[in-house]
């Protein structure tokens, strides 16, 4: 979880934004940056408008001075108005609480062990797995998701006018109406497709996007090299069991299973015996029940479990 930003920090940043906008109001890049900043926290818009109100209020000083200065102030006012025209809508959207307006990017963080379902304004649904971070922006011609960490599964509502694109590092996954998951890993991203077809490419990579169809899996490397072919994966349902808070094991080694549980829990499973680590196991567990898994594995393989404060150690018998 991201630490909550203090109101004082927001206040300081807001003042800086107001001054930056005053200096460079024609700059579209600045506008985009400001939008992104504002979208990060409701309080930011509040702090921004507060600082802006004080800043604008100071314009009244020019009334006392009069003369040609007034005209100059007038034009900067108009320019600033044009720049901030969109904020009214943004503010209205924010205040209407959770009716995602088009411009608004929403960020989602899940804590360790947390699994979250997020309905989107277009009818799509995201399921966000443990310890993940993503941003969803519903734009007029693009539904843009940025997966910064972790894993998420998307059931995408059909809308050919508005492609749905997931950005995971340099890897891109594009869908029109389909269901798929993306997991950001070291060196690349795992794409699993449960319905329809998606296209996968890498930002700087060469060659045409690769199509991945329902029931297939593709690991897209960050460097774009050696385009892997999508592989049929009969195992998708099992791999996506996390959406229901479950871990399904079907012949995985205890080491793999332990790694899977450790994605969800502070208390980590350590398989201390190498022979045990290679044993294969079948079972169906809650993601938040590593103890239950360890007990079951120990019983099956004649091992022993010692529960520590932060670890669950699995040893041979």
């Amino acid at each position: 979880m991201v630490e909550r930003e203090s109101a004082a920090d927001i206040e300081a940043d807001a003042a800086r934004w107001v001054v930056r906008v005053d200096r460079d109001s024609e700059n579209p890049g600045l506008r985009a940056e400001l939008d992104a900043w504002l979208a990060g926290d409701r309080r930011r818009l509040g702090a921004y408008v507060r600082a802006e109100a004080a800043w604008t209020h100071m314009d009244r000083a020019s009334v006392l001075a009069g003369g040609e200065a007034t005209r100059d102030v007038g034009t900067t006012m108009i320019r600033r108005r044009r720049l901030v025209a969109g904020f009214g809508a943004l503010a209205a959207g924010l205040a209407a609480a959770m009716v995602a307006p088009r411009l608004l990017a929403r960020r989602y963080d899940t804590a360790l062990g947390e699994i979250r379902r997020v309905p989107m304004s277009d009818g799509s649904v995201a399921a966000i797995n443990t310890d993940s971070k993503l941003e969803i922006a519903m734009r007029p011609r693009l539904r843009a998701v940025k997966l910064e960490r972790g894993e998420a599964w998307f059931a995408v509502a059909k809308d050919p006018e508005r492609p749905f694109v997931v950005e995971s590092g340099p890897v891109r996954v594009r869908a029109v109406g389909t269901a798929f998951s993306v997991r950001k890993r070291e060196g690349g991203s795992d794409v699993l497709v449960t319905e329809g077809v998606v296209e996968v490419w890498t930002r700087d990579g060469e060659g045409a996007p690769r199509r991945v169809a329902a029931g297939q899996r593709l690991f897209a490397k960050n460097d774009g090299g050696a385009p892997a072919s999508p592989m049929a994966d009969a195992d998708l349902g099992r791999k996506l069991a996390w959406r229901d808070g479950q871990i399904v094991l079907d012949g995985q080694t205890l080491a793999e299973a332990a790694a899977e549980f450790n994605r969800y829990n502070d208390r980590k499973i350590v398989v201390a015996d190498p022979r045990l680590a290679d044993q294969r196991f079948v079972g169906w567990f809650r993601t938040n029940d590593p103890e239950g898994f360890a007990e079951a594995a120990a019983t099956t393989f004649n091992g022993q479990v010692s529960l520590g404060g932060e670890t669950i150690v699995l040893r041979g018998g």
Binding site: V19, R60, R80
Partner: protein, 198 residues
């Protein structure tokens, strides 16, 4: 739309900011246990920013109190542990509204004098920059050229000045906070009046 928004921003500066000190004081009194008063205020401004029309608001001060109250109540309801007293205290809004000593809004010529006074109270270079920008209407780039400093310096000074002015408009003890430093200690303002939250 943009015209409307400019009006709302002007209205906030004229009719709302001057009451922030009383709203803040009231929130601190009746809401000390439940959350960060500055969070509540920012959230409240966020809602006020959503206004597209302000013509129907006869009593900006009362409106500000009501908006802050509804944000505060929501935060209490969201919090897991709710102290009954907190809710009943915060309901006592009428009392705070009637507090005549908090009535600090001034009008017309005096208000303009006050704005000039706020600028005049800034540290030297900061004040000069505000005068050029706000009274003479000189763009920041040109200010930097005239003062022989980088635009970045102008930006920093303007930010510092804006924060000091905001503090002066919304609190009585502005000088304590006019140094442009962030209050990092647990987000508490170091104005010596802040009640410790429980």
């Amino acid at each position: 739309m943009s015209e409307g928004r400019a009006r709302v921003v002007a209205w906030l500066g004229r009719e709302i900011l001057p009451h922030e000190a009383s709203v803040r004081a009231w929130l601190r009194r009746s809401f000390a246990a439940a959350g960060d008063v500055d969070d509540i205020l920012q959230e409240t401004y966020c809602r006020l920013a959503a206004l597209t029309n302000i013509d129907h608001i006869d009593q900006p001060r009362g409106y500000f109190f009501q908006a802050a109250r509804s944000v505060a109540l929501e935060q209490i309801r969201r919090a897991r542990v709710v102290r009954i007293e907190t809710v009943s205290e915060i309901e006592a809004l009428d009392l705070a509204l009637e507090d005549p000593s908090a009535e600090r809004i001034v009008s017309g010529r005096r208000e303009l004098e006050r704005v000039k006074g706020l600028i005049a109270a800034l540290p030297d270079r900061c004040r000069r920059i505000f005068e050029m920008r706000k009274i003479e209407g000189v763009p920041q780039r040109e200010i930097a050229r005239r003062l022989g400093v980088t635009e970045h310096v102008v930006e920093n000074e303007a930010v510092r000045g804006l924060r000091a002015i905001l503090a002066a408009m919304t609190e009585q003890d502005a000088p304590a906070r006019s140094h442009g430093t962030r209050d990092r200690e647990g987000g508490e303002k170091t104005d010596g009046r802040t009640r410790k939250r429980r």
